[in-house]
Amino acid sequence: MCGHCCNSDLSLLTEVFNDMNGNGDNLISVLQKAQDIYGYLPTDVLYEIAEKTGNSPAKVMGVATFYTQFRLKKVGKYLILLCKGTACHVNGADSIEKAICEELKIQDGDTTEDGLFSLKTVACLGCCSLSPVMMINEDTYGSLTPAKTVEILREIRGREAK
């Protein structure tokens, strides 16, 4: 990690640091805001945050890797959050994961080559009564079957191809 190879536009962080002063804002909130700006947490951004918040890079990295919300890699245009909570498990979430992996040819945590889709399994989305459930960006899809899941993915891909 050199911290200088990602060339992120660090000026975008100015506002985050300005907001931080006196507001009692902590490292987690700063990282959340940074991720909202860049879509993930590039290495140079982490170094910048370490410097401006007065933390060691190791501590910043420690926090960023502890919480599942933080991403250190770029994600695709469509982020699929597949719920693997208890209710979804009982209602067949594994078969949905298999269908997504086969259709997109990626594994959990990966992004498709064209940068369109990323897959991330999550503990629980709290929509248990619609299980199995997945979220694609802001939209929630419930009562999934493998066939229905593939149909949804193909529909998005078709829309994007136009």
Binding site: Y67, G85, V122, L130
Partner: protein
């Protein structure tokens, strides 16, 4: 006339937002008002549209689809209620609500969660007024003591005791914290309360802050609940404007400020000391207790932490008196409890019942029993810290003591029902997979012990279980239970211990006979075709990726189990249900 659409997260996921937009467009230029409410808890019937005349509910329309909206709008314009009959909730499904007693959820799904006026006109904030103007903090704590309210986050610790300890703790700067990091997979009670009645949480917290003497309060909400965060922030802003929050609340000397802190996704942060670490911007790793948070919590100042549902009960108790609350329930568990009823259940959703009902009453009378008329096998309570309760114990009453005696716990309220098709070994493996990932890594027993257990459970479900594996699991459980610092580790063995206790035969079948009795573990399945059911349509043979199926057209097919890779595609395509798992 007013129509109200239930728009909690699951309602929206089921299409309530689209129904709302369509209805609005069809009802332009009519005198029918359209509003929203939170979640009524009948998730199995979403999207739900309620029709009111003033405060009176005239009709409840369920499972409303986008394409139904035009019809509904026309009927509403013509006052033709007869035409709405086909969308109306059935008497059978109405039982779901009728059998409940709602305190924490009393306004959920009934009022507009985005309007403080809706809350105050329904009597909201009157309990706060009562507490601030006619009760001392000690009297508030006494009332909570009388009520018998216990922490609804899972541990069931008496709320008054925590409040009292924080109140008596030295120091003038104290903090009140709400734990809304609802991490148990299969639980969504807290989300529903915040999304549907955020002011109930704020009011309960304010009363708590007054009781312990805190000027600053936080709500730690999990990041996976964006709608809850939006609605709570809106509620906080409105409460500030109306003088229910801020300096000199309701003209008294009591001041309190409330802030939201969004969690960043770590199950262990539901543990109170880990939550405090996270609030301070650090990795969420539990602290050694004592000192307890009541002495040294957030920023080393006295702090009190309660769960959302606990706070949601507070205003009701102050308003109606502690005795009214403690008159419900059993000897050792007072009041009501909210459960998120899910899994293989006919009617899934939010259920609030007085303590003392039996599991059977909740699952069968309220939940309607098992879906697709299958056989009930077990119910899982308390998420990764809880356990599975078998059929023989369905008449166990719901109270802290009775549930603990089964080896499960009350937990925060997740109640996942399983049928005959659920493998209990795989269920235990599922929870250990979860705890392995969520263990913060601080304690060796938890970090490595759960990993070893997960590996053993994995090999059992893959048909590689060895003689002595069950005993090894039990030994590990014992070690983790006594060697872990926090609740996550100490309770992590529960799913394994309860499944071994009640379903030992399933473990033995996996290990000794290499069979999964529920037919769920893929590696232990054998597929075969029922000759009588097979019509010889050849669909399965065409679909099979390894050409393991042979047979002539219109004649029964055969699967060569030496070639079969157990992918299950033949079963999926078969239209005659002829492919069976053994």
């Amino acid at each position: 006339m007013r129509i109200v659409i239930g728009e909690g997260s699951c309602g929206i996921a089921a299409g309530a937002g689209k129904v709302h937009t369509k209805l609005s467009s069809y009802l332009v230029n009519s005198d029918i008002e359209i509003g929203i409410a939170g979640c009524i808890g009948m998730c199995f019937l979403e999207p739900i549209v309620d029709i009111y005349d003033g405060k009176k509910l005239l009709k409840r329309l369920v499972k409303v689809k986008e394409e139904d909206t035009e019809n509904i709008a026309v009927s509403l314009r013509n006052n033709d209620f007869e035409a709405l009959k086909k969308y109306e909730i059935s008497t059978e499904d109405s039982v779901f609500l009728e059998k409940q007693t709602r305190i924490a959820l009393r306004r959920c799904g009934l009022i507009d969660p985005e309007s403080i006026d809706a809350y105050t006109s329904d009597g909201g904030y009157s309990a706060l007024k009562k507490a601030l103007t006619s009760m001392s903090p000690e009297e508030v704590i006494e009332e909570i003591k009388i009520s018998g309210l216990a922490g609804r986050g899972g541990a069931g610790f008496p709320t008054w005791f925590k409040w009292n300890a924080a109140r008596n703790s030295e120091g003038t700067e104290k903090y009140l914290i709400c734990n809304a990091d609802e991490g148990d997979p299969g639980a969504f009670m807290d989300r529903a309360v915040i999304e549907s009645d955020p002011h109930a949480l704020i009011e309960g917290m304010l009363i708590g802050a007054y009781a312990i003497g805190a000027k600053n309060a936080f709500v730690y909400v999990r990041a996976e609940y964006p709608l809850a965060i939006i609605r709570l922030q809106k509620a906080i802003n409105e409460a500030m404007e109306k003088g229910f929050l801020g300096n000199n609340i309701l003209g008294t000397s009591f001041s309190c400020f409330l802030k939201i802190k969004a969690g960043a996704g770590a199950f262990v942060c539901g543990e109170e000391t880990a939550l405090i670490e996270s609030l301070e911007g650090k990795r969420g790793m539990p602290r050694l207790k004592p000192p307890f948070p009541a002495e040294k919590g957030y920023e080393n100042k006295p702090s009190n932490i309660n769960n959302v549902e606990t706070f949601a009960n507070v205003a009701w108790i102050i308003e109606n008196g502690g005795k009214a609350f403690s008159s419900m329930g059993t000897e050792n568990s007072k009041g009501t409890k909210v459960f998120a009823l899910t899994g293989k259940i006919k009617r899934g959703g939010l259920v609030e019942i007085p303590m003392g009902l039996t599991l059977r009453e909740v699952i069968y009378d309220i939940g309607g029993g098992i879906r697709d008329d299958k056989e009930f096998k077990a119910v899982q309570l308390g998420g990764p810290s809880g356990g599975c309760i078998p059929k023989e114990l369905l008449d166990t009453v719901i109270d802290y003591k009775a549930l603990n005696a089964t080896g499960a716990i009350m937990g925060s309220g997740g109640m996942v029902v399983m049928d005959e098709g659920t493998c209990m070994v795989n269920m235990a493996r599922f929870f250990l997979d979860f705890t392995t990932k969520e263990s913060c890594g601080k304690c060796v027993h938890c970090r490595i012990g759960t990993k070893r257990m997960f590996e053993i459970l994995t090999r059992i479900t893959e048909g590689n279980g060895k003689d002595g594996d069950i005993e090894l699991l039990e030994e590990l459980c014992d070690g983790i239970r006594s060697g872990a610092l926090c609740g996550l580790g100490q309770t992590a063995p529960n799913p394994v211990l309860t499944t071994i206790k009640y379903f030992r035969h399933e473990y033995e079948a996996h290990i000794n006979e290499k069979k999964c009795p529920a037919g769920e573990c893929a590696a232990l399945r054998t597929y075969h075709i029922n000759e009588e059911k097979c019509k010889g349509c050849t669909l399965c043979a065409k679909k099979c990726p390894v050409n393991a199926i042979s047979g002539k057209v219109k004649e029964a097919h055969i699967i060569d189990i030496t070639k079969c890779i157990k992918c299950g595609q033949c079963k999926e395509v078969c239209r005659f249900d002829a492919v069976e798992i053994k």
